[in-house]
C-alpha cells in the first residue's frame, strides 16, 4: 500500500494543479518543484505526467498569482535542465513569451529573477537560441538596462542584484549565436558597458562577462578588432583579459584564455605576447589540474593553436603535447572500469586527438614530441575505437603526424597503423572515411615505407572504388592518393591504376564537376604520363588524338590555376616522349598559342610549366631525338609562333623570377644552336 501511495502522489500533485484553490495549486507546484530540482528521474516522471501544459497555461493566464508564477517559472527553469527536447517542448508551449513578459520592469523582483533563470536555462540549447530571433530585440535593451543599473551600483554585493546581473550577462552571451545578432548586441554599446564588470572582483560575474565577450567576438573579425580597442581604467581589453588569465580562480583563467583565443584567431591582437606568454601556459597548466572541466580546456587549446605555427610551438614548449598524450593513457587505463564516466572519456578522447592534431599540424618539432610521448600507440588503438568520432579524430591526428617524412620513415612502419587505417578507409561512415582517406594520402608518397604494404593490401582497388564515391571530399582524397602512388611508381603499378580507374574516367573527372576533384584528376593524369612513355601511350590509346587535344584545350582554359598547371605538365609529359605525340600538340596552333600565353604568365608556376612544354617540343630532333646534330624537328612551327622572340623579350625583363629565367635560358639554347 505504501508503494502505491508513493506512486500516486505525483499524479495527485498534477491533479492539484487544476484546483480552483490557489493555495492547493501553490502547494502542488512547490512540491513538484522540490521533487524535480536535481533529479532527472523526477523530471522525467512529471514530464510524462504532462506537467508542461499545466505550467504553460498557468504562465499564460494574466491573473495568475505572483507566488504561483514564481513556482511555475522555477519548474520551467528546472525542466529546461533536463535536455533539449524538453526545453523545446516548453518553448513550443509558449513559455518564452510569458517569461519575457515577466522580466519587464515593474515585475515582482523574485519573479524577475526566476524568469531570468528560466530564460538562461532554455537558451542553453543552440536550437532554442537560434529560434529566439524574434525575442532578441526585446530582450537586449532590457538586459543592458540591468547591467547599466548595476555598473556603478554599490549594491552589487547584494545577493539578488549580483545574481540578476550575472544572469543578464549570461543571457546576453547566449543571444550572440549568429553574426547578425553579434552585431545587434555590439552596436548597442554592450562592449563598453560590459568591460567594467571584468574588474568588479566577483569571479562568477567575471566569468559570465568573459563568456559574453567570447560569444560576441567568436569568428567575427570586425567585432574582435573593435573589442581589442575597448578600454577601461586606462587599459585596453587584451590587457585586462591577459591579467584575468592569471587570476586565482581557474574558471576565470579558462574563459580569459578563450577570449584571447578568439582575438588571436581573428588576428585582432597586435602583439602575440598575450597569447604566447599568458594564454598558452595558462591553458597548459589548467590541463594538468582538475579545477575546471578538462574537456573545455582541451577544446580551448585546440582552438587557440589552429593554423598558427608559433602558438603550436609555444603549446609544445609548455608541455601540452605530452600532457595530452598522458590524458589518453589515463583514459585508456580506465577502459572497462566501474565507477567511471565512460561517455565523458569518449568526448575527451575525441577532443584530445583533435587538439593534438592541430598542434602537430604545422611543425616537425611538435610532431616529434608527440611521437616521443608514445602518441602512435594511442593513435593505432583509437583507430579501432567503437566511437566514430574518436576514429575520425584519430585519423585527423594521424594525417598531421605522418606529414613528417622522418616519422613516416622511422616510427610509422612498426606502429601497425596501416591495416586499421585501411579498414577505416573502407568504413561505411562518411565522416570516418573522409578523415581516413586524408590520412592515407600522406602514407602513399614514394618515400613512405608503407607504400609497398599498402599496394599489397589492395590500396589501388580501394582508391579506385572511392573515386566513384558520392561524397566529394572522398573522391578528391581517393584521387590524391592515386596521384601520390604514381610518383616514382613502377610500370606495373602505373598500369594497374590506369586499368582500375581508366583514362577516360580521369579525363571526365578532370573536366567536369567539383573544383577540388577536377584539380586532383588533372594531377593524376599528369602523374600517369610522367617518368616514362607507358602512361602517355596509355592516354593516347584510350582517348585518341582528337580527344587528347580537346582535353588539353579544356584543361588549359580552366579558371582554376591548379588545374592549368597540371594541364601544362600533362602537355609537357605528352610532348616530351614520342615525336608522334608531340605532333598532336604542335599541330594545333591554338594549343601552341595557349602555351605561349602561359609562358608570359605573371604566375611563375604556370610560366615554368609552359616553358617546360616549349623545352620539350624544341628537344625533338628531325632524325633522331638522341642525335643532337640533327635539326630541331618542330623549329618551323615554333618560329611561326615567334617563340624565340618571345623568349628573348622575357629574358630582357629584369623583374623575371629566377626559376622562370632559368627555364627561358634553357629554351633559348635550342634556338641559339649552330644547327639553326
Amino acid at each position: 500500500m505504501a508503494m502505491a501511495t508513493t506512486q500516486q502522489q505525483p499524479v495527485q500533485h498534477i491533479q492539484q494543479l487544476q484546483s480552483t484553490n490557489p493555495v492547493e495549486v501553490y502547494s502542488a507546484l512547490r512540491t513538484i518543484k522540490n521533487a524535480i530540482i536535481g533529479s532527472n528521474a523526477k523530471k522525467t516522471l512529471y514530464y510524462q505526467l504532462q506537467i508542461i501544459p499545466h505550467v504553460s497555461s498557468l504562465l499564460a493566464l494574466d491573473d495568475t498569482d505572483v507566488q504561483i508564477r514564481v513556482q511555475a517559472t522555477t519548474i520551467v527553469s528546472s525542466l529546461a535542465h533536463k535536455g533539449e527536447d524538453v526545453a523545446q517542448q516548453l518553448v513550443d508551449g509558449g513559455v518564452m513569451e510569458a517569461l519575457i513578459g515577466q522580466v519587464m520592469p515593474g515585475t515582482d523582483a523574485a519573479l524577475m529573477e526566476a524568469s531570468e533563470r528560466a530564460l538562461n536555462a532554455l537558451l542553453g540549447y543552440k536550437a532554442i537560441r537560434m529560434g529566439a530571433e524574434e525575442h532578441t530585440h526585446t530582450m537586449v535593451p532590457y538586459l543592458l538596462s540591468i547591467i547599466t543599473e548595476a555598473k556603478e551600483s554599490s549594491r552589487m554585493f547584494e545577493m539578488r542584484m549580483h545574481a540578476r546581473v550575472e544572469l543578464a550577462v549570461l543571457i546576453l552571451e547566449k543571444l550572440c549565436v549568429t553574426e547578425a545578432r553579434q552585431f545587434t548586441v555590439a552596436n548597442t554599446g554592450a562592449m563598453d558597458l560590459l568591460a567594467p564588470l571584468l574588474q568588479r572582483g566577483y569571479p562568477r560575474l567575471q566569468v559570465a562577462t568573459l563568456r559574453a565577450f567570447a560569444a560576441l567576438s567568436y569568428e567575427n573579425m570586425e567585432i574582435s578588432r573593435a573589442l581589442a580597442t575597448v578600454a577601461h581604467d586606462g587599459r585596453v581589453f587584451p590587457q585586462l583579459v591577459a591579467e584575468l588569465a592569471r587570476h586565482s580562480d581557474a574558471d576565470v583563467r579558462l574563459h580569459a584564455c578563450l577570449c584571447l583565443a578568439n582575438l588571436s584567431r581573428m588576428r585582432a591582437l597586435g602583439d602575440a605576447r598575450a597569447v604566447l606568454s599568458v594564454a598558452v601556459p595558462a591553458l597548459a597548466k589548467l590541463l594538468r589540474g582538475s579545477d575546471v572541466p578538462r574537456l573545455q580546456v582541451i577544446e580551448a587549446l585546440g582552438y587557440l593553436c589552429h593554423e598558427d605555427a608559433e602558438i603550436q610551438m609555444a603549446a609544445k614548449n609548455a608541455g601540452a603535447v605530452s600532457d595530452l598524450v598522458a590524458i589518453l593513457a589515463e583514459i585508456e587505463s580506465q577502459d572497462g572500469a566501474d565507477f567511471v564516466d565512460h561517455a565523458r572519456n569518449v568526448q575527451e578522447t575525441r577532443a584530445v586527438f583533435l587538439a593534438l592534431g592541430t598542434i602537430v599540424s604545422a611543425g616537425e618539432e611538435c610532431r616529434m614530441r608527440a611521437v616521443e610521448s608514445h602518441a602512435m600507440a594511442h593513435l593505432v588503438r583509437a583507430l579501432g575505437h567503437s566511437d566514430d568520432g574518436v576514429k575520425a579524430a584519430a585519423c585527423l591526428c594521424t594525417q598531421y603526424i605522418v606529414r613528417s617524412v622522418p616519422i613516416c620513415r622511422t616510427h610509422v612502419p612498426e606502429s601497425g597503423l596501416l591495416r586499421p587505417l585501411l579498414a577505416l578507409v573502407r568504413s561505411s561512415v562518411t565522416s570516418v572515411q573522409e578523415k581516413a582517406t586524408a590520412a592515407l594520402i600522406n602514407l602513399l608518397p614514394d618515400f613512405s615505407p608503407l607504400r609497398a604494404d599498402a599496394l599489397k593490401e589492395g590500396v589501388v582497388d580501394v582508391l579506385a572504388r572511392l573515386v566513384e564515391s558520392e561524397h566529394v571530399t572522398i573522391r578528391r582524397n581517393a584521387l590524391w592518393g592515386l596521384r601520390n602512388l604514381l610518383v616514382g611508381a613502377d610500370d606495373d603499378t602505373r598500369r594497374q591504376i590506369i586499368a582500375h580507374v581508366s583514362v577516360a574516367r580521369l579525363s571526365t573527372l578532370a573536366q567536369t564537376g567539383d573544383k577540388a576533384v577536377r584539380e586532383q584528376a588533372a594531377g593524376v593524369l599528369q602523374n600517369v604520363t610522367a617518368e616514362n612513355e607507358v602512361g602517355a601511350q596509355a592516354v593516347f590509346d584510350a582517348l585518341g588524338a582528337p580527344q587528347i587535344v580537346e582535353l588539353l584545350r579544356t584543361l588549359l582554359a580552366s579558371e582554376d590555376s591548379a588545374v592549368t598547371v597540371h594541364a601544362l605538365y600533362l602537355t609537357n609529359n605528352i610532348a616530351v616522349r614520342e615525336r608522334s605525340l608531340c605532333e598532336l600538340i604542335v599541330g594545333d596552333r591554338g594549343l601552341l598559342q595557349t602555351i605561349m600565353d602561359y609562358a608570359r604568365s605573371p604566375v611563375s608556376e604556370a610560366a615554368i610549366g609552359a616553358l617546360w612544354c616549349i623545352n620539350s617540343i624544341a628537344s625533338h630532333r628531325a632524325d633522331s631525338d638522341s642525335d643532337d646534330s640533327s635539326e630541331p624537328r618542330f623549329l618551323a612551327e615554333l618560329e611561326a609562333q615567334n617563340v624565340q622572340s618571345m623568349l628573348e623579350t622575357l629574358l630582357s625583363d629584369p623583374g623575371l623570377c629566377l626559376g622562370v629565367r632559368d627555364r627561358v635560358k634553357s629554351c633559348l639554347d635550342y634556338f641559339s644552336s649552330p644547327d639553326m
Partner: protein, 239 residues
C-alpha cells in the same frame, strides 16, 4: 655537540623586536575577522562587528541568515527542509551540481537509516539515489558504500560507521554552505584557518633550520623560547 647547536638561535627579544617591525593594518585584521564571521554564518556578530569597527561589508549580510538556516537544517538531519530552502534561495544550485545533490540525498538516506526506517530507506535509495548513480557513474562507489548501511549492522569499528557519525552531517553542511557562497562569488572558506595552517607549516619548515621562539598553542599564541628546553634535555649533570 648536539645537532641543535649547529642551528642558528634567535632569542625571544630579537624575535619580538622583528615581529613588531612587520606592519599589520587594523583594517586588514578587521577584514579577516569579518570574513570569518560571514563565511561561518555569525550574522549577528558580523552586523555588530561591522557597526563597531566601522567596516563596510562587501557581502550581503542578509544572506547569512538564509545560509545559516540551511546549515542548521542539515546539522539537525532535516535534509528535506534544507533542500527546500536551497531551492527557494537559488534553484539553479542543485540542478547544476549533481555531486552536491547526491551528497544531500545520501545524507537523507543516512537519516532514514539512523531512524530505523529501513523500508522507507530502501525505497528512497531505489527511487532517488539509484537513478542518480546511473547518470553519474563516478558517484556509484559512494552509493555502494551508502547502500551497504542497509545490508550490514554497523558497529563502531565498521568502515561504514563514519557515515552514521554526526560528523558526516557537518561535512555535508559544509559542502552545501561552500556551494551557496560560491554561487555568489564569495570565498568558500574563511581565510583565518588558512593563515593558521600557514603558520604551522612555516614553523615546521623553520624548525629544521633555526631555534626560535615558536607558538605551540594557537589559542594562547604565546611565544615559547626554544633552545632552553633543548639545552636542558641534552646537558650532562656535573658532579
Amino acid at each position: 655537540m648536539t645537532a641543535s647547536s649547529a642551528k642558528q638561535t634567535i632569542s625571544l627579544d630579537e624575535w619580538e623586536r622583528k615581529m613588531h617591525e612587520v606592519p599589520i593594518a587594523k583594517s586588514d585584521l578587521n577584514q579577516l575577522i569579518m570574513n570569518y564571521l560571514i563565511i561561518e554564518g555569525y550574522k549577528d556578530a558580523a552586523e555588530k562587528f561591522s557597526e563597531e569597527s566601522g567596516l563596510t561589508s562587501s557581502v550581503d549580510l542578509g544572506s547569512i541568515e538564509e545560509r545559516m538556516q540551511i546549515r542548521f537544517a542539515v546539522q539537525n538531519g532535516d535534509i528535506r527542509a534544507a533542500i527546500e530552502r536551497v531551492n527557494d534561495l537559488n534553484p539553479d544550485i542543485l540542478d547544476t551540481d549533481p555531486r552536491l545533490y547526491f551528497h544531500l540525498q545520501q545524507q537523507q538516506l543516512i537519516e532514514l537509516i539512523r531512524q530505523g526506517k529501513a523500508e522507507e530507506a530502501l525505497e528512497f535509495a531505489q527511487d532517488e539515489l539509484a537513478p542518480h548513480g546511473e547518470e553519474h557513474p563516478e558517484l556509484l562507489r559512494e552509493l555502494e558504500k551508502t547502500m551497504a548501511l542497509l545490508a550490514f549492522e554497523v558497529t563502531g569499528e565498521s568502515p561504514l560507521a563514519e557515515l552514521l557519525d554526526f560528523e558526516h552531517r557537518q561535512k555535508t553542511a559544509n559542502e552545501l554552505n561552500a556551494a551557496l557562497l560560491a554561487a555568489h562569488s564569495q570565498p568558500r572558506e574563511p581565510k583565518l584557518p588558512a593563515l593558521l595552517q600557514l603558520l604551522a607549516w612555516t614553523q615546521d619548515q623553520l624548525d629544521e633550520k633555526v631555534n626560535y621562539p615558536r607558538i605551540s598553542n594557537i589559542v594562547s599564541a604565546v611565544l615559547e623560547e626554544s633552545g632552553k628546553d633543548t639545552l636542558n634535555a641534552g646537558s650532562t649533570p656535573r658532579p
